[in-house]
Amino acid sequence: MEPFTCMFCAGLSYRWSCQTMMVRDALNQAMDEELERDERVFLLGEEVAQYDGAYKVSRGLWKKYGDKRIIDTPITEMGFAGIAVGAAMAGLRPICEFMTFNFSMQAIDQIINSAAKTYYMSAGFQAVPIVFRGPNGASAGVAAQHSQCFAAWYAHCPGLKVVSPWNAEDAKGLLKSAIRDDNPVVFLENELMYGVPFEMSEESQSKDFTIPIGKAKVERQGTHVSLVSHSRYVSHCLDAAVVLAKEGIECEVINLRTIRPLDVECIETSVMKTNHLVTVEGGWPQFGVGAEICARIMEGPAFNYLDAPATRVTGVDIPMPYAKILEDNSLPQIKDIIFSVKKTLNV
């Protein structure tokens, strides 16, 4: 499934017959459907109600569901994340929005110590069915304190599920699954993807459409190298694959969809076919998603099929600068992926 700009739908209502949808509208639809389906579901966060969402992801929901189900909070992340976790413990199914995941650092104790660990500490007595969602990683020109990718931090912790959708169909199906999951799910969106339209399949139109957490998807078949990525960089990988195909290099592009649990089997199957692995992510290199993938490949059957060491393409190991030229060169570009593939293939 490739992204494209639909002439009729871009910027207007998504519910047209050509069935494309922007990522933000897919997220909106997912929440709308789950709010309707289960009255225990509610949304809280800064500006989610009367402002229609800082990034308009929750547009229209407050008007439809009211104050009880869509709750504007004060700017107190630790407090409202804790309140959301407590509500989940007592029988509700909250969706806790962080305006960006950078602010979740203020609440990270509640996410890890109160949410993630509780089912284990209580030996299966106390479940915490909660979704923490919001934009993660770099945006555009928002500088160092607003651009961090938290995939590796959250994926480190047992007791959490960490999901990172790429396209609109991912967004809808995975968010519905996350809301229906009886466990704490960290749902990492991407602000730059919110306005990107994607074609939606027939089955994704259904109110019961879900995508299972923990399963990656092969977005493009290939034979020479496995490109493994998540979120926005799946687009970059697909674009790089188009360019590389012209030179006779066929890339297999894997969209992880879920960071934890990682679908290692999908990656292994691919690597055993292509014999080359390149991971692509926006986060910093050290102790990151790519590092974990490489370690797991080393420990499994795919290692013996590698014809070259695995390569990681990552964000530059610095706080995010502001100036456009600096910011552009702090994140993986398509040319970096192409370069890394060729180095890995030794061409």
């Binding site: 509610f42 009880k68 709750i71 909070t73 004060p74 107190t76 630790m78 407090g79 409202f80 994340a81 804790g82 309140i83 959301a84 976790v85 407590g86 509500a87 989940a88 413990m89 007592a90 029988g91 509700l92 104790d109 509640q110 110590n113 109160s114 509780t118 089912y119 284990y120 500490m121 209580s122 030996a123 299966g124 007595f125 106390q126 479940a127 915490v128 069915p129 047992p158 007791g159 599920k161 009886d182 466990n183 649990p261 420990e299």
Partner: protein, 378 residues
């Protein structure tokens, strides 16, 4: 039946600098932003008195047994004991319903008992056995029961959780309240004030309760808090300061507080003035920051169990023999519980990785090395 003037002849005085900490001058609780406080009189039936006595004494003996087991190295890690503070847990439970909710911090063994868990399951959790209330996986600070949310190790984190539980009560329209407890040390945490703000804004039925035992670990309240009027720290939220050593005072105050919340008036802040005989935890002798004289004075003048017993005896509500019988029965129960806790087997290694996720299909968990592929079920 006893109709009693609360606090008529009890003053709770201590403090090395002679600070007057007496509570309930002439029987009244100190109130903040309230026209009136809890009633000055309370009724105590014989049945209630014996029940409160039995429960407090059970908590007392259970905690002393834990002390013993810890010194024998049968209990390890953290162990924060509640002896001295029994009137708080028992008074609160007497005022609320089992269907109400309660959450506290790590000094939680007393509440685990009052919320319905047997002594043997508590002790077996402390000794890390499979018969423990959390199957040995939680330990001292992580015990749970229906409508009891632990047992929380991170200072202050339980308070927003409590406000969230109250939100769920309001959302579900079930007329229940949540008691969210914290200590004088936690009272300065920012997340408390975040919780106060949201609870007040949304009128959550949350009874925020500071168990002020005068010391946050080794730091006295004067050294930690610019204001030690913890019942006023909710600012715009009404507050009541209560003698936490008098189980009847606690009960009446919490009946008042629960009614306040149930009537839709929003949250309330309670301060219970109490005292712990042990140090902060078993690794703290508890005498480097306070004097033995102080501890002894509280024990002799303000012990919650002694006070209740003497009140009942002096009003001919029960005999010395009856109390002795109760004591003997409790001693036996605690002894048997300790037997169980020391003989029950440890949790099976096969269950090491269970309970990561709720309601999920089995998953594989990486062990200490790549060949260790362990199984986890919900």
């Amino acid at each position: 039946m006893l109709q009693t003037q609360l606090l008529s002849n009890h003053h709770f005085n201590f403090g090395r600098r002679g600070r007057d900490s007496s509570v309930g001058r002439a029987g009244k609780c100190d109130v903040h932003r309230l026209e009136e406080g809890p009633p000055l009189k309370a009724e105590l039936t014989r049945e209630q008195g014996l029940r409160y006595y039995r429960i407090m004494q059970t908590v007392r003996r259970m905690e002393l047994k834990a002390d013993q087991l810890y010194k024998q190295k049968i209990i390890r890690g953290f162990c924060h004991l509640y002896d001295g503070q029994e009137a708080c847990a028992v008074g609160i439970e007497a005022a609320i319903n089992p269907s109400d909710h309660l959450i506290t911090a790590y000094r939680a063994h007393g509440y685990t008992y009052t919320r319905g868990i047997a002594v043997k399951e508590i002790l077996a959790e402390l000794t890390g056995r499979r018969g423990g209330v959390a199957k040995g996986k939680g330990g001292s600070m992580h015990m749970y029961a229906p409508h009891f949310y632990g047992g929380n190790g991170i200072v202050g984190a339980q308070v927003p959780l409590g406000a969230g539980i109250a939100l769920a009560c309001q959302y579900q329209g079930n007329n229940q309240v949540c008691v969210a407890l914290y200590g004088d040390g936690a009272a300065n945490q920012g997340q408390l004030f975040e919780s106060f703000n949201m609870a007040a804004l949304w009128k959550l039925p949350c009874i925020f309760t500071c168990e002020n035992n005068q010391y946050g670990m080794g730091t006295s309240v004067e050294r930690a808090s610019a204001s030690t009027d913890y019942y006023k720290r909710g600012d715009f939220i009404p507050g009541i300061r209560v003698d936490g050593m008098d189980v009847l005072c606690v009960r009446e105050a919490f009946k008042f507080a629960a009614e306040h919340c149930r009537s839709g008036k929003g949250p309330i802040v309670m301060e219970l003035k109490t005292y712990r005989y042990h140090g902060h935890s078993m690794s703290d002798p508890g005498v480097s920051y306070r004097t033995r004289e102080e501890i002894q004075e509280v024990r002799s003048k303000s012990d919650p169990i002694t006070m209740l017993k003497e009140r009942m005896l002096s009003n001919n509500m029960a005999s010395v023999e009856e109390f002795k019988e109760i004591d003997i029965a409790i001693r036996k129960e605690v002894e048997e519980a300790a037997q169980y806790a020391t003989s029950d087997p440890e949790p099976p290694l096969e269950e090491l990785c269970n309970h990561i996720f709720s309601n999920d299909s089995p998953l594989e968990v990486r062990g200490t090395n790549p060949w260790a592929r362990l199984k986890s079920v919900s």
